[in-house]
């Protein structure tokens, strides 16, 4: 099981968390109802204390192991200093404006390094699809290295927007269709 894009991951996350939310609401509602009944409720399932603790630990740690193995950008991000990118784009940010290296054209599957540099405030660098969904992002701190290594597993045109607040003027930091990814089958996304 691997999530190729953020859309697939967020769809899975949406379903999983909704199921969990419904479950915890039901458990508390069931608990509240039975708390007031004079006759003792029959336990649906008996969970020993140490099993519950083990479950919490397994969920806390297992969640990260699951994402490491199913989300491709996790290991890529951790190991990015040892990976040679296919393309590198330097982006300068100052006075609430992006300075891009023209149109950033990429082939699907290429490893691309976005190197962002801020000379004044803390900004964000976010890549968005045309429907507004988020592809990826990073914070852009002045005086620090801000390098995002990304492999596009989808084709299309992507907007760039600052994902961090840098004063009211930063609200207009938006570059339409700054990134173009090609190389997919005709009419298909992948």
């Amino acid at each position: 099981m691997t999530f190729k894009t953020s859309v697939e991951l967020l769809a899975f996350h949406n379903v999983a968390y909704t199921i969990y939310a419904m479950l915890i609401i039901s458990v508390i509602a069931w608990f509240a109802y039975n708390l007031t009944r004079p006759q003792k409720a029959k336990a649906i399932v008996r969970i020993p204390f140490y099993t519950y603790i083990g479950f919490l630990v397994a969920m806390g740690v297992g969640h990260h192991i699951f994402t490491y193995n199913t989300i491709p950008w996790v290991s890529e991000d951790i190991m990015r200093h040892n990976i040679k990118p296919d393309k590198t784009f330097d982006i300068k940010i100052a006075n609430h404006k992006f300075e891009m290296p023209g149109k950033m054209e990429i082939k699907k599957g290429e490893k691309v390094l976005f190197n962002a540099h801020s000379s004044d405030l803390v900004y964000g660098f976010g890549l968005f699809r045309q429907d507004g969904t988020l592809v990826s992002q990073m914070q852009v701190n002045p005086g620090s290295k801000n390098d995002l290594l990304w492999t596009f597993n989808e084709c299309g045109e992507f907007d760039v927007r600052s994902t961090e607040y840098a004063g009211p003027e930063g609200n207009n930091m938006f570059v339409k269709k700054a990134v173009i990814v090609t190389g997919c089958d005709k009419g298909g996304k992948s």
Binding site: L9, S144, G167, E169
Partner: protein, 552 residues
Amino acid sequence: MSVMSGTNFDASKLTALQKVTLRAVVMSFLFYGLASIEGTLMRMALINPSLPPIEGHAAHYFSIMTVHPIIGIFGSTYQLVFAAFMFLIPYLTKKPLYSVGVANFVWIMITLGSALAWIAAFVWSYAPLYTLYWPLPADTEQFKVIGGIVFIVGVALIMVGTLAFIYNIYATIFAKVGIHANKTTKELLISGFGIDGMLNLINKLRGKPPYTKEPALSLPVVAIFRGTVDTFLDALVILGAGILVLVYLIADASGLSWNVHAIDALLYKNFFWWGLDLVADGLVLIYVAGSWYLLATLITGEKLFMENVARAALLLELFVSWMVWSHHLLADQGQPEMMKLISGEMVTAFELLTQGLALFITLMTLWKARPLKMTFPLKYLLGGLLGFGLAVPAAIIQADMGMNRILHNTQWIIGAHVHIALLTGLYMTLYSVVYVLWPLVTNDTKLYSTKLANAHYWLHLIGSIGMGAFMGMAGLEGMLRRHFYMDGEFRTFMILAGISAIMMVTAWVLFMINIIMSVGIKGLIGIFLPAKDDTATFGIEPQPSVVAQQKA
């Protein structure tokens, strides 16, 4: 019964301790109303940006966004929590509060400070947001120096009030009077940090007798003691950041042009988040766990289930809360990977364990005492447990290097996690505390209407979960949390979140009507008049009256 005189409330019979508690509670709920209205204005602006008073002005929108958490967290939550604890510590330890004068100083400082911060944003549109990411708060090209100075002085006053609260709490706990007359400072410290609970557990595993059968401090006092350590550290960090900003602003006003990049933005972010996170992951979770334990024991009249485990868990949270701040920096590429992995992911995951334990212990304490009457304290407590049951797993999900890449700074974070944690989890718990303490601090004043109280409960519960959920859904579709969308993006979710926000404002109005009709306008004024009775302790009796009412 009238709006002037209330039900049977008599402010002239209140002690100094009761009055100082009620003064802070009144201010807290006024600030809550302000934060609630501010939040609703922002929600309305995201449905239709041209609506007044924001009328499409980004500067105005972000000014509101800057003061909204200051008013909500400090003006309201801090006031309410501090008021409750300065009443509860004398009540639980059966000792007088160290100083009622200091308690008065606390609510006045926090009220003044919150008001100043609000004025700075309202009058001068000072809007660096609560995150104060360096060098934005010192950016005098975007913001007026006077606005910045007034804002920082306001926040500093809040922190001075906070330090006074901490002093009052520890001075009361360590006072060698009453039941602690023969206790040493060492015994109180060991108990305060939950070390006795840990030693009891270790001795049990080794087959030895318990370290202590009767701990020096009761469990809720231990939680307050422990949470206050984080409150202290957090106050120092916020004061430190405030002084830094103030120095730069004053230098600018003096005509000096200091290089803001002399301060490393990422290092500052680490320092600031370390302190700020102590509010969320230290102070809130520990204070909340302590409040749950107290409420569960007061509601049931029984001992807490697995008390030694609860004490040890509070000790564990001591280390956990100090080492989790990096989960706020998972999208910062300059942050070392090991810090992201250890602090941001692994240690943060322990909060699922500590909060899960608190949830389990509270539920089990209630379950063992059933059947119980579904009174307001119990009803709100269950709402609070549900709130954290929803919000804590949401936090663990986003504190992950894979998920954070696509969730950071989206409406998911502020909706599904923060607002559900605060509005459903924390406030429902606090309302439970309010209803438990109501007969104690008002001398058994009759509540005006249970129908209004019920309407408040359901409107707040459904509104808070609804707003968090719809904001979260918008976040999953890419909506950012610190962006003013003006072209109708995500409108369906924003309409639904807006309706939920209006439900919560309505809930607050109903709650205030109920309280004002109970204490009356005269009573409300009377709370702020000097107390004739300077008693600084409360009800040294075997059990509070609420316990008797609770048992079916």
